[in-house]
Amino acid sequence: MRLRLSGAVVDALENVRQHAYPPEHFSGVRHVPNWWFMGAADRKEKWLILAVYDQGITIPVSLPRRFGLDHVVTMFRSWFSLPFDPADPSFDGEALEAAMRFSVSATGEPYRGKGLAKIQEVVGNCQGGRLRIVSRNGEYITDGKASRVQTHRVALPGTYLEITALF
């Protein structure tokens, strides 16, 4: 499990590096283009939490940059019967699910963008595994099999990815 979880964390960190801080987005804006990693474990209760946070552009904003606005709009309407506008956070929960679906289907350059799907797969193979992603107003939670999303009224400035597992 340790090997799989450490791979999942590196996938999360590489996602931050690849997508969270596009230079053109932050041109002239003071920012800290870093990630923050947190971990906790309870030996008695036998659970652990690993979490990565970044202050980047968030997943909903990154979607059209990665997959093309027209394609995201088309797929959003097909999957959720909803409009997609990266500036509108009303459906950020669905935007996170869309990001996962794009990763699972390897949209775009087919050899890239497997990170989120791999993290979800790892969580699905861990006892008590759970993945929680909060990005801007969206939240996506999955045990690797079923998932649920919600959109909050208050935005998180960045993306928080949390993996929970029993050991």
Binding site: L3, S6, V10, D11, E14, P110
Partner: protein, 114 residues
């Protein structure tokens, strides 16, 4: 000729990243500076390179994909020659899922190239 063993753990216990821009122990650096020269030597001498996955503390999907899928995508070797010369190995069973992933990335690129 005897197989040549290439251990990724000897390259780094913490390999990460796809390209050299991503860090000092990237897939691009491992593939181009370590694996490709070993494969060229093996092909010339009609032997094989056994890449050992054991001993690394964690593999990201992009490191594995760029290392193994990249061998085909960049057309560095003829697919049939590469398949004969490259063995992806995991002695410890905990690395068997990594071995499957690496084989899958290689196979996916072989199918795209076909």
């Amino acid at each position: 000729m005897a197989d040549q063993i290439v251990s990724i753990a000897n390259f780094s216990q913490f390999p990460a990243g796809r390209t050299r821009r991503d860090g000092p122990f990237s897939a691009e650096r491992f593939r181009d500076d370590v694996l490709v020269p070993a494969l060229r030597g093996a092909i010339e001498s009609n032997s094989r390179v056994v890449v050992k996955l054991d001993g690394v503390l964690g593999y990201s999907s992009s490191f594995l994909e760029e290392t193994f899928g990249g061998l085909i995508r960049l057309r560095l070797f003829r697919p049939d020659v590469l398949r004969r010369a490259l063995v992806i190995s995991a002695e410890d069973p905990i690395y068997s899922s990594v071995q499957l992933d690496a084989e899958q990335y290689l196979t996916e690129e072989l199918e795209r190239a076909a």
